[in-house]
């Protein structure tokens, strides 16, 4: 296969540099190597870019640039009255890709959908996302109503279920391919040479160097994709990505170094697109330990933090102050909530009123960089200074990442933890229930905060339409602000530098890099 495509690809590549009017190749300088190409097995965005966003489709998909769920391989769907069963009608005429070892004999049907989920709901499945999203417990059974209709029966009503199906682990794989590779004794091929229905067909991966795709000419969306070839040139260093972009070695690059963004914005050969990231960085108090069990104390501390200074110093402008636990791009974000004012004087008074004197505490600084917190150590130092202004003595601690995650979830952990979250499915439940619900205590709920009025709201919001759920989440955010289990610090701003000839690139709030509708203007 490789040799057959050799001439074509070589010619296209030359066209890229020579600027001739031949087939078009879009080059994306990606930041790291994918772990594999079966998105259900992994959790990293890099892997999803290389698999679920290129090679695969899902039953429903996130409309690029929004968190709205739109039809994908399912043309339509409906739920029963009490929200415990969802029936999906599949899109007819969708074909799977082919490769050296495999030629599909049929179009997409219900068997592929059922296989996609059933393979993940078995003992010993090594993918983490299916379980992390609670899908194993949620799905009671999957029924094949007919060849083109599939019904999911759930163990309980759970409105975010449909959004979960738009996630990467829910990418629809070919049962036929899977069976063929099992039979051939090479099941690992499914992960190494992926076959999907997506806009791009996988061609080749040279480990840690280059991934090549070509356009799926039979793609079910008219006019998509707009380029003939897509190449991921793996370039781990951010400064080098920038150099490659300038030199025309690639068209699009992710994750610029914050220090480079200003120069990029002034560079006429580069357009810098930007959007708020679907994430939040926070400082979580342990609400089960004294004196942080008192909301007044937590609010007083929140008022002592100069968040604007953090945005300037730590994010170097690539962030915005957070007032709610969910990001502003998410539906149900409560615009009316007022952030705690930065007022050290009032904070000092509030602490005194609460009977807290000579407080000394720990602040935990993560050892890794994340979009929601590019430099936790620096952030901790700034907060340390702010707190010392109101007479609170801070010791900064840090651990190796695994230790950090482990120890910070302990119920008797002392002090406050810097951490954050990037949304999975664009649903508020994915932030509010996961990070602040009672089930998350001793796990992902680092504030160890279980507050019944809040819990009741997010439980009630697990069913119903978006219109019905919105007011519940809005109210939950008000309670959150009053109770202040966290200091909400920042949402990142995502910058995406592209070359001026790139047309149609949209920054996706869920963090993926999507090239379906991207073209190159000659």
């Amino acid at each position: 296969m490789k040799t057959a495509r050799l001439f074509g690809t070589a010619a296209l590549g030359l066209a890229l540099t020579a600027g001739a009017a031949a087939a078009q190749t879009l080059v994306y300088c990606s930041e790291a190597s994918p772990e594999g190409f079966d998105p259900a097995l992994y959790t990293s965005g890099t892997t999803f870019d290389a698999s679920s966003h290129t090679v695969y489709n899902q039953l429903v998909e996130f409309e690029t640039g929004t968190t709205n769920v739109v039809p994908g391989l399912a043309e339509s769907w409906e739920s029963n009255e009490d929200g415990t069963s969802y029936t999906f009608t599949l899109r007819p005429g969708v074909t799977f890709h082919s490769n050296d070892q495999f030629e599909p004999t049929r179009e997409l049907n219900a068997d592929d959908v059922i296989h996609t989920f059933e393979r993940q709901d078995v003992e010993g499945w090594t993918g983490e996302y299916f379980n992390a999203m609670g899908m194993g417990d949620l799905i009671e059974s999957i029924e094949k109503v007919d060849d083109m209709t599939v019904r999911f029966n759930l163990t309980r009503a759970e409105a975010p279920f449909v959004a979960n199906l738009a996630m990467d682990f829910a990418s629809i794989v070919s049962k036929e391919y899977y069976d063929a590779m099992e039979e051939a004794g090479t099941p690992e091929m499914v992960n190494q040479q992926p076959i999907g229905t997506g806009p791009f067909e996988f061609v080749d991966y040279q480990t840690d160097a280059v991934i090549r795709y070509e356009a799926n000419e039979d793609y079910w969306v008219e006019g998509v994709p707009r380029v003939d070839n897509l190449v991921f040139a793996i370039t781990p260093d951010a400064s080098v990505r920038y150099q490659r972009l300038q030199a025309g070695e690639c068209h699009v690059m992710p994750y610029p170094a914050p220090a480079d963004v200003e120069a990029m914005q002034e560079n006429p050969d580069i357009n810098v697109l930007e959007q708020e990231g679907l994430n939040v960085g926070y400082l979580a108090y342990n609400t089960q330990m004294e004196p942080f069990d008192n909301p007044e104390v937590r609010r007083a501390l929140n008022m002592a933090i100069d968040k604007e200074a953090i945005i300037d110093v730590v994010f170097q402008g690539s962030g915005q102050v957070a007032k709610n636990p969910i990001p502003p791009t998410m539906w149900s974000y409560n615009e009316a909530v007022e952030d705690d004012p930065y007022d050290p004087e009032a904070a000092r008074q509030m602490l005194a009123d609460a009977g807290v004197e000579d407080l000394s505490m720990r602040i935990w600084a993560m050892p890794v960089q994340r979009p929601y917190n590019p430099n936790a150590r620096r952030m901790a130092e700034l907060i340390q200074e702010d707190f010392s202004e109101i007479g609170v003595d801070v010791e900064i601690v840090s651990y190796e990442w695994g230790e950090y995650l482990d120890r910070s979830s302990a119920l008797d952990r002392d002090g406050a933890v810097l951490l954050g979250w990037t949304g999975d499915n664009g649903d508020p439940d994915n932030f509010l229930a996961v990070l602040l619900g009672c089930d998350g205590v001793e796990n992902s709920n680092r504030a160890q905060w279980c507050y019944q009025p809040f819990e009741d709201l997010i439980q009630e919001a697990k069913t119903g339409t978006q219109e019905e759920r919105t007011p519940l989440y809005e109210e939950a955010q008000v309670i959150f602000k009053e109770q202040a289990p966290w200091a909400t610090i920042a949402h990142s701003v995502v910058f995406m530098p592209v070359r001026p000839e790139v047309d149609g690139y949209v920054v996706h709030p869920l963090g993926g890099h999507i090239f379906d509708n991207v073209g190159i203007d000659e």
Binding site: K2, T3, R5, L6, T9, A10, L12, G13, L14, L16, T17, T25, V27, E35, G36, L41, T43, G124, T126, E128, N131, A132, E188, N191, D204, Q206, T207, D208, A209, V210, R212, V231, A233, I234, T235, P236, D237, S239, V240, Q243, R244, Q246, A247, E249, Y399, E400, W401, G402, E403, L405, D406, S409, L419, G420, W421, T422, N443, S444
Partner: protein, 335 residues
Amino acid sequence: MLRYVLARLLTFIPTFIGVTIVSFGFIRVLPGDPIIVMAGERGLSEERYQEYVERFGFDQPLWKQFWDYLTGVLQGDLGQSFVTNRNVWDEFFTLFPATLELSLCAIIFSVLVGLPAGVIAAVYRGKFFDRALMSTALVGYSMPIFWWALLLIIVFSGNLGWTPVSGRIGLMYFFDDVTGFMLIDSLISGQEGAFWSAVQHLILPSIVLGTIPLAVIARQTRSAMLEVLSEDYIRTARAKGLRPARVNGLHALRNALIPVITVIGLSVGTLLAGAILTETIFSWPGIGKWMVDSIFRRDYPVVQGGLLLIALMVMIVNLTVDILYGLINPKIRKR
């Protein structure tokens, strides 16, 4: 000579066992649970955690884990990566040719420049050439690799456009891996311009990676030359009226080479194991970055297996150097 080689080969055995123990122990001594690192911010349930513990064999006593590892190693099975589920052996040999190719080019560059520089410095001892060359060598030795690499990229790739920024070959060239060495594979492919593209991509990383060995080789050559030049037989050669070039080039350099070869051998070993920064900056798909990523992910099989294989490579290089040594200096092999 054969006996000498065999004797050296025998020392492989204890070294190999030592490396196996160290590589097994090293990653386990580091704090951080690979399962928790893998789950990240999302966390995982207690049952799920237990499932992983069993799958990875962490429920076994440590001696049993080591025994399983050792018997695996002896049968050529280094296990599978926790992260990619791919065979460690396969992963290593997919990436290693890239590292080897770059290391060899870097060492060739450093010898081609460092050796003459050292000789010239020794011959003109205390004069301008000597001082200029040796101060440059010191600068080269102390320069932060990261900074040096970016500087070269900005000047030669960015401003002048002479060399590509990073990667192993232009993206327009696409052919099967035959040997894994881009210079060879590009020739085999027969694609026009491919070989030249591969050469161009090697220039900057070779210079960057070769800078420190270059400085070391230049300094070592200089001091070895100085020592030899003060020997009686050199004075005799000069007294016989031989041309200075012949004295320096043939009589002196040949004898000065012995310690220099040791240094070159050691440098190759270091380069094979430690081209991490250069590989990262130049997007070079070698084993340096692969190892570092695995350490951060606590990917035990990859760290263990990778360390073992790298140690093996270094041992092979050292053996080769020792043999060369014996060839150049008959005194050594008779000892």
